[in-house]
Each structure stands twice: as structure tokens, then as C-alpha cells.
């Protein structure tokens, strides 16, 4: 995690805001450092994290995480981290047909895609334990990234529905957080991506945007809902 980013956002691992949807956005650069930041931040803050990693392998995040001071392997073993490795699971679901519904079932479907199995996976991973005493602070869903779902044939509306369901369950019901990365295609005229970006921008509490050179970023803070919503 980056201390500078924490200072700018006024958060520390000890006091974590709850019930927030954060949108990470990158344009003409790679915003994955934001994902690594939030992953290490929430793991250090003792939150239960469900990481849907669609774009890189587990070892990539693990090695970068070690540089930032967290061990994903340890977190996964003790149950703090539930890691869905998209690339490996996609190969499994594509080449070896599964009996029970798989989170990435939409890869085998012909049209528009249904993300319900993925939502159920998240629900299963983050639901609070019935034993009463909570071991972890709050559930967090981290997605890297949502734009790749569009490349896999899922419609923008389906992705927005998925985020809406996750927000309703994770943010509102369980008082957790959702963080998702979306690429901004800029002048590539990707309509589906623009729909997704605008829709999520409207719903989220915080937008962090990485633009141009890797050193610069600016942030937009959307209004914070109080009470209602």
C-alpha cells in the first residue's frame, strides 16, 4: 500500500470506511498499481477480501504484494483472502466441462452472458460466518478488471447489474466495500465501455483516476450518501 495515497484519502488500515464503492479508472496508462494498493491496504486492515482477478495470475499479485508488505499465500491459507484466478479457471471451464455451475460459466454461453454464478461465488465467499464472533473486520470485494468482461462477450448492462447486486449485498447489507477497475478507452469509441464507466461513475462514492504518466493521478469525489440510498 502506498502511504501517500492513504494520506490523500485520509484513511489508515486502522480506520477503514465501510459501505463504499470505489471506482478505479485508468486512461492511456496502467492503473493496476491502484489495485495492488487496495489489495495490500485491505489485507493489512484485517478485512476479509474476495479478489476476482481476471487479468493476471496469482503469482503476479503475490510477488507485487510481497513488495508492498503482504503475503497473499498466507492470507489465502488462513482464509482472509478468497482468490478467484480468472485465467486458470477460464481454462478449466472452457476445456473441461463442469457439472456444477462455475463462476465463469458465461464463457461457455453464446450470448450476452449471465454473471449470476459469479455473483453467487462472491456471495458465498464473503458472507459473514454464523459463529457470531467475526474474525475479520469487514468484507471487501476487489475486481481486476471489469473491462475484460466486456471483451469476453458480457454486455455492459449485465456487468452493471452484477456490480449493483454486489453493492447491495456487500456494501449495504454487510457494510463492506467494493473496489473495481475499469479501463477508459479514451478516443477508441468503445461504447459499451463508456456505458459501463459512466454507470459506475454515477454509483460510486470515490473515483480514482490514473492518467498519462504513471506518476500523476487525480481524484474525483462523488457525493457521499448519508442515511438514505
Amino acid at each position: 500500500m502506498f502511504p501517500e495515497l492513504n494520506n490523500l484519502l485520509n484513511t489508515t488500515p486502522d480506520q477503514v470506511e465501510q459501505g463504499k464503492l470505489t471506482l478505479l479508472c485508468d486512461a492511456k496508462t496502467d492503473g493496476s498499481f491502484l489495485v495492488h494498493h487496495f489489495l495490500s491496504f485491505y489485507l493489512k486492515a484485517n478485512c476479509k477480501v474476495c479478489f476476482v482477478a481476471l487479468i493476471q495470475s496469482f503469482s503476479h499479485y503475490n510477488i507485487v504484494g510481497q513488495k508492498l508488505g503482504v503475503s497473499l499465500t498466507t492470507a489465502r491459507e488462513c482464509g482472509q483472502l478468497v482468490f478467484l484466478e480468472g485465467l486458470k479457471s477460464a481454462v478449466d471451464v472452457f476445456f473441461r466441462p463442469q457439472e456444477e455451475p462455475h463462476p465463469l460459466q458465461f464463457l461457455r454461453e453464446a450470448n450476452s452472458g449471465n454473471l449470476q454464478p459469479l455473483y453467487e461465488f462472491v456471495q458465498e465467499a464473503l458472507k459473514p460466518m454464523d459463529s457470531g464472533e467475526a474474525a475479520w473486520r469487514c468484507p471487501v470485494l476487489l475486481v481486476d478488471d471489469l473491462s475484460v468482461l466486456l471483451s469476453l462477450g458480457v454486455g455492459a448492462v449485465a456487468v452493471l447489474d452484477f456490480v449493483h447486486y454486489c453493492r447491495a449485498t456487500v456494501c449495504r447489507e454487510w457494510k463492506g466495500n467494493v473496489v473495481a477497475l475499469v479501463h477508459d478507452s479514451g478516443d477508441a469509441e468503445d461504447e459499451e465501455n463508456d456505458i459501463l464507466l459512466n454507470g459506475l461513475g454515477h454509483q460510486s462514492h470515490l473515483i480514482l483516476r490514473a492518467e498519462g504518466l504513471a506518476t500523476g493521478f487525480c481524484k474525483d469525489v462523488h457525493g457521499q450518501p448519508k442515511g438514505s440510498s
Binding site: 476445456f95 453464446a110 469476453l152
Partner: protein
């Protein structure tokens, strides 16, 4: 310049980068501590693979693209487990050349090849590969090695007994432990090199005749067949660590030509709103999944100048790791520009992956031009 290059330590490197593949946890990127000396040859030893070297930045395992100039621009080489996307130049003159350099490099270093094309038979592609330039020193070394191998095969070493345990260099017609070679485009690769190499070909018109039994999943028929073919080779030959008894690990070099062109049955090149506009991107995602879990590297050439929908080009770029664009001057107004008179075209490094790292090394110079001579493909900053 090539003659003075030091031979990189092929099988005897003390480099810290070795690949571990166990049953449950197969990764291509893993860092191991420096090898402790003197372990018995009985227990499983991880020997580094010929034609690869660890990256100086993050220990990533790299293979050469066949063009030392391009290797340098990509941070040392192409990372194992990643895709190199070449955006074809307008008349498809120079991109097949990069494709052939990649494959020829695989033959010279002894890697297994998988060549897929919808236009040409892979056997014909291999016949047209350029001949490697092995300087005389290297040739003499190879001859000496072959002689020594025969005479010393059974002599027990008394003083340097630890070296007894190390594997001997394999005697092949050409055994080169260098990283990155130069090729003579005017000559064809010697036939015996092709015969000594291991390769698999995927020629689309031959494979497409059988009907598909499984349920369609919005992927183009040709792409499904190709994915199954690649997955089959990876699994059967143990590139994903599924055959633990294989002693010598090797790299699989995959080359796919003209992906996305109408010859593959994809219609993204002639219409903007096509029905299956996620066919190519889905294919690239599945390919990435296969590559990340195996010891392989892939080169793809795509005619991006033909793709009508700019959004698809952006998505294709995001799903590839390294993206290099070629722009040749033939037929364009730049041909008569005095600035470019010494060069044949521009080369754009559009994307370099950030693997196991927070940042990547982007080269300082953005204006790069290439020049093809008979024995050398140079890339220089210009303008």
C-alpha cells in the same frame, strides 16, 4: 558486434531464476534462491532451459524474439508465458519477417515450435526461415564439443568431481547457448536444422473440415479448434508441468499468423458491427490463460489496419502483453521524406507488460525506425 558477444551461460548458469512446476501449483514466474552446490544428480534438479535467461530487472524468465535489437527494446526479451502482438504493416511485408525470426530462433535454441496459419502450410513456412549466422568461433566450439563428448564420455573426473554431476552439453548439428542470434535473410535455414527440431503445425483448411460436436460458445470455429490444438500440445508434451517425469524442460514457441483476418473466418475486418465481435478477444483471453500456466511464449500477427472497429483494437491491445506496431514506408508519402530515406519503416512499441512488478521500463525514445539489410535488421531512433 555479434562475434564479440559473450556466450551466455546456457545450462550452467548460477542465475537465481528457475522454474518450479509442481502438480498443484503451476506457475511460470517464480523466483528461487541461488542453487546450493553439490546436490546429487539423483534428486530432481531444476536445470535452466537453453535459450532463456532471467531478466535483470525482476528475475522473469525471458526468451529471445530472434531480433536482438527488439529484445533490447522490450527489456531484454520476451517473457515466458506472454503474448507478443505484432500489428502488421500495410502490405504485410515486414511482419512475416518478425514472425520468421521468432520461429528460427526457436529452432536454433532447440525449443519446440507450434505454427498456426490459415494462409500457408506450416511446413512451407518453416522452409522459408532465414539461415542463422553462426560465426566461426561458435562453429569451432560446437565441433570441439562434439569431439570431446565422444572421447570423454566415460572418463571419471578425479579432481573436478563436482562437474561430473552436471549434465553434458548435448551434441547437435548446431548447439548454441547464446541468447539472440542474427539471421541472413537471403539464405534459407539448413534442412538438417528443421529436421532436428520438433514442431507442430496447424493449418486451418485441414483442421476445419470436421464438425464441431460441442455446444458453441460464440467463439469462431477456427479459433476453438486452434485453442484445443494448443491446449492438447501443452498438456501432452508436459509444458504445463503435468508430466513430472520429464527431465529436460523446454519452451514451446507458438506462432499464429494473420489472426483476425477473414481467412480465419472472422468478420471484424470487413464490418464494424459484427455479430461475433468478441470472438477474437475471447480467443486472446483463453490463449493468455493457457500461456500463463505453461512454459511457452507466443507471437501473433494481426492486421489491425484492417479492423473496422477501433474499440476492438483497444481491447485486443489490452489483452496482449507486448504490442509492437510496424509501419512501412512503402506506398506512403513518408517514402520521399528525406528524414526517413535510410529506413524502411517505423516501429512503434505500443505496450510492454508489467509482470511481477509495479512499473515497466518504457524506453525513452519513442520514434524508432527500422532498416532491413541482408544480415541485419536494425532498429534505431530517428527524428
Amino acid at each position: 558486434m555479434a562475434a564479440a558477444a559473450t556466450c551466455s551461460t546456457g545450462t550452467r548458469s548460477t542465475g537465481s531464476m528457475v522454474v518450479a512446476a509442481s502438480r498443484n501449483n503451476v506457475t511460470s514466474f517464480q523466483r528461487r534462491g541461488p542453487r546450493t552446490s553439490g546436490t546429487d544428480s539423483g534428486c530432481s534438479r531444476l536445470v535452466s532451459i537453453s535459450g532463456t535467461r532471467p531478466s535483470v530487472r525482476n528475475g522473469q524468465l525471458l526468451v529471445s524474439t530472434g531480433l536482438p535489437a527488439l529484445d533490447q527494446l522490450l527489456g531484454g526479451g520476451l517473457a515466458v508465458g506472454t503474448v507478443l502482438l505484432i500489428e502488421e504493416d500495410k502490405y504485410n511485408i515486414y511482419s512475416p519477417l518478425l514472425f520468421k525470426y521468432f520461429l528460427a530462433e526457436g529452432i536454433v535454441t532447440g525449443h519446440t515450435l507450434l505454427v498456426a496459419s490459415a494462409k500457408e502450410d506450416p511446413a512451407d513456412i518453416l522452409q522459408e526461415l532465414p539461415a542463422p549466422l553462426l560465426d566461426d568461433n561458435c562453429k569451432k566450439e560446437c565441433d570441439e564439443d562434439i569431439c570431446n563428448h565422444k572421447t570423454e564420455s566415460n572418463v571419471k573426473m578425479k579432481i573436478a568431481w563436482r562437474y561430473q554431476l552436471l549434465p553434458k552439453i548435448e551434441a547437435r548439428p548446431v548447439s548454441s547457448s547464446r541468447f539472440g542470434h542474427y539471421y541472413d535473410v537471403s539464405k534459407r535455414i539448413p534442412q538438417e536444422l528443421i529436421e532436428a527440431s520438433k514442431w507442430h503445425g496447424f493449418f486451418l483448411p485441414e483442421k476445419i473440415s470436421s464438425t464441431l460436436n460441442e455446444d458453441p460458445c460464440s467463439l469462431n470455429h477456427g479459433y476453438i479448434k486452434l485453442l484445443q490444438f494448443i491446449q492438447n500440445i501443452i498438456y501432452k508434451e508436459g509444458f504445463d508441468g503435468s508430466n513430472p517425469q520429464k527431465k529436460q524442460k523446454n519452451i514451446l514457441r507458438i506462432g499464429i499468423q494473420n489472426l483476425g483476418s477473414p481467412l480465419w473466418g472472422d468478420d471484424i475486418c470487413w464490418t464494424e458491427n459484427c455479430d461475433s465481435n468478441c470472438s477474437l478477444t475471447k480467443f486472446l483471453y483463453m490463449l493468455r490463460g493457457l500461456l500463463r500456466t505453461s512454459l511457452s511464449a507466443c507471437i501473433i500477427t494481426v492486421p489491425t489496419h484492417l479492423i473496422q472497429n477501433k474499440a476492438i483494437i483497444a481491447r485486443v491491445t489490452n489483452l496482449s502483453d507486448t504490442v509492437v506496431g510496424l509501419e512501412s514506408f512503402i506506398g506512403s508519402e513518408k517514402e520521399t521524406n528525406p528524414l526517413y530515406k535510410d529506413y524502411h519503416g517505423l516501429i512503434h512499441i505500443r505496450q510492454i507488460p508489467q509482470l511481477n512488478n509495479l512499473i515497466c521500463d518504457v524506453s525513452d525514445v519513442k520514434d524508432l525506425a527500422f532498416k532491413l539489410k541482408r544480415k541485419l535488421f536494425t532498429i534505431e531512433p530517428c527524428g
